[in-house]
Symmetry: C2
Subunit: 477 residues, 2 copies
């Protein structure tokens, strides 16, 4: 048994026996067994006890653990917290409140004591019960893998590992160790109280399932162990996809590249959306399955625009080349677009430059002849650099935002005129950006919807002698 735990400590838990390690000891068989074995293996232990104040005799247990620690000559810390009060204040179950209060205490202490890890006594049966509990409450890969031998960062700390060396040891083996070493654990009455969901699993559900298959505990343990590896594979893929597809993020929104997100496998899309939601609402208990399904369906629909409410005020906004997951509180960013004040008209001399918001600018160059720009002038391949016939305009050009009734003759439609509003929809110009989009005007006619399309009357023709180049650009940041 000691050898087994030693091997788990070295191979799975990666602990350094010479660095201080905080061990949470409830006084029950698991933590007592772990304390005893790690002490014999020469680990530098600091013993911590949290009195949950859930039973009138709980301070007696504290004394018991203190005595055991003193016998081993180890440092001892303890604290008494009103878990029932905490549960009521935070609307939590007693079990959940106890768990949170306990880990907060252990990691606070570990941080103060400069410990490498918090070690706790969960055993293989606890693992099986945890997996079953997750299944009963609804879960995915993250829950099915159960607990880990070592996890860092974890919910409680970024640097200090949460370590569970006994995850590979069955309760029966712990009990045998306790007995054969004459150890004297406290008997936690709550273990026999079916009030706690987990205890009901332990004492009723697991034996019931063993009636179907006597091997079921072992099989569920192995399932969790295999799924932990699968989870790691997926997490790595999600990590890569996140880095590649998230274009912008703040505490109030996360912006994805639409095309990139759509090209991901369904499983990765779901994980990315779930991660975005959790990042915006870290305290969310459960990213509801139906919300994620709704988001995935919406995202993959042919629509390029629209809003889809997800949960808890979080919505998905599909906006051309961006998909936003955002809280209702946050203003989405517009700095990715060239924008101008809605009610003002600006002059753009030729040549000249006009700075816009957020580092964008419009500029005009003249004095170019057809020989200098070659075939480029006909191709108009780059919508951010367009070429016009200098004779067709009347400088200075005016820059303003759109107005009701604006019409426009996009190049390529044989001089046919369409509503600017329709054009903006057709080219998927982001809805939020339309009212502030810079439009280039000459003699009351639209010359260029900047960044999108030149107007037919202003294009370079075969007889054009003198060419003006308009440039929409942004300083790199």
């Amino acid at each position: 048994m000691i050898e087994r735990v030693n091997s788990l400590l070295m191979k799975n838990c990666l602990l350094d026996s010479k660095r201080p390690t905080l061990i949470g000891v409830s006084g029950g068989p698991d933590s007592l067994c772990l304390l005893h074995i790690m002490d014999r293996l020469g680990y530098r232990l600091i013993v911590a006890y949290l009195d949950h104040a859930l039973r009138s005799d709980s301070s007696r247990d504290a004394d018991h653990v203190r005595q055991i620690t003193a016998d081993l000559g180890l440092p001892f810390c303890s604290e008494r917290v009103d878990v029932a009060g905490y549960a009521e204040a935070h609307k939590l179950s007693l079990e959940e409140a106890a768990r949170i209060v306990r880990y907060m205490y252990l990691f606070k202490l570990a941080d103060q004591q400069n410990a490498q890890a918090v070690v706790v006594g969960h055993n293989a049966d606890d693992q099986v019960e945890t997996v079953l509990m997750h299944i009963l409450r609804g879960t995915g890969l993250a829950g099915l893998r159960g607990m880990s031998y070592r996890s860092v960062p974890n919910t409680w700390h970024n640097r200090i590992a949460l370590v569970r060396p006994l995850l590979g040891v069955w309760r029966e083996e712990v009990d045998n160790y306790i007995e054969s070493n004459g150890l004297n654990p406290v008997t936690d009455v709550s273990n026999w109280d079916s009030r706690f969901f987990r205890n009901r699993l332990r004492h009723e559900l697991v034996p019931y399932l063993e009636d179907y298959n006597p091997q079921v505990r072992k099989l569920i343990w192995r399932m969790a162990s295999t799924l932990e590896e699968d989870f790691n594979v997926i997490s790595k893929q999600v990590e890569i996809a996140w880095d590649e597809s998230v274009v912008q993020e703040s505490g109030a929104y996360i912006g994805f590249d639409t095309q990139f997100l759509r090209n991901q496998a369904g499983g990765i899309q779901r994980h990315l959306l779930r991660r975005a939601i959790y990042q915006l609402l870290p305290n969310l208990r459960d990213a509801d399955f139906t919300a994620i399904e709704r988001a995935v369906d919406f995202l993959n629909s042919p629509a390029n625009y629209g809003r889809c409410d997800l949960l808890a005020g979080i919505y998905l906004l599909l906006e051309g080349e961006r998909v936003w997951i955002a809280t209702s509180a946050g203003d989405l960013p517009t700095i990715i677009w060239p924008q101008i004040s809605k009610d003002q008209v600006y002059n753009l001399p030729v040549p000249g430059e006009l700075p816009l918001e957020s580092g964008w600018s419009l500029s005009a160059e003249n004095g170019l002849g057809p020989e200098q720009v070659g075939d480029l002038i006909y191709a108009n391949a780059n919508q951010f650099h367009v070429y016009l016939d200098a004779q067709s305009i009347n400088p200075p050009l005016l820059i303003r935002s759109r107005r009701p009734g604006d019409r426009f003759k996009p190049i390529g439609l044989d001089g046919h005129s369409i509503k600017l509003a329709d054009f903006m929809v057709n080219v998927k110009l982001p809805r939020r950006a339309r009212d502030h989009w810079p439009i280039v005007i000459s003699d009351r006619e639209i010359v260029w919807v900047s960044g999108y399309r030149l107007a037919e009357p202003f294009k370079v023709k075969t007889g054009t002698r003198c060419i003006v180049r308009l440039i929409l650009s942004r300083e790199s940041h």
Copy 2:
């Protein structure tokens, strides 16, 4: 309900209503409901019934289904198979035998009828029961995702899809449909027979779990649906890793690139090893968890050589740059190495060429001066092209395999001599290849362990005027 199924058929099952579709109808509520709905939706159905001959009155059910089919004006096929006999002959449970016989029949028929798919009536409750059954029997991601709306290729056919449109419909909804449409299903007595594991799950375990959480069926269904996506993500990764890491395969062995396999995440390694085992033994029921764990531990140990027995006569052989998963029956390939007959000595004239086995050859070139080969001659970076001082050898060179007592002065050891046998171990020359490895000899002294190391006395020195180049190469294939 019809709309729901129509949407599942189009979105999840991808069926073409104009192409023939084979539907397996037992006459129970699920298949009857599916038959009725798909017929109303205008699918071109062929009805198939398999009489399992498990009950004395089973031919009455056949007549019932035949009558329903006739009323709908659809083609009907049926067959009677002795499932009990098949179960005994193949040492299967009745349920397992019935399943195999049924699908074999349905796909044989679908093939004959040129059907696009075999459609069966599994519902959402069946899905939940399947997942629970897998958990109780031990499973991983593949089993936890349950059944799929559409799977092709599948166990039964490479081209014809197995389709389950009702996977998203609960048994209660099916029953409501049956009732409100006045349909008349057969009552399969085996449904109420706890002899079948699945029936015990349905009538005992699921209600028991609902006592823990009334939502549990829905939650398990969703879990399976999410895991299906995760499974697809992992499968794709495994596919990529397989293509990149499998160097050779036959019906008796699969050879991996050691380094590539070791660099994979643990989860991917396990999937690759499991896939290799299943490919060698397609009828294996279960690639045992412990065998895979043993293989992974062995693979990742620092050892570069050795054999690890896995299961059912399959072993893992770690051999330097190759990892083999092989059946005890199969001879592993040696064609990846240059090999010669063990008892013969060959001449290699200078200049000249000597063909070896499997497209390999050794050749010698002369007439090179230091100015032609530059610094290459000192670097010896490419162990397949080495340069020697022409004056140090006495042509023709001899090529032979190793002999007991052979010693050798590897370059870089200051002319120190070591046993050839030790050298081969040190450089991890594959054990199976050592006895047939071509060694280059001049005047009884080892000049070159081809592909590995030149001997010190033959190297190019500062005063060397004339250089010989030896090349070990293989024609590309």
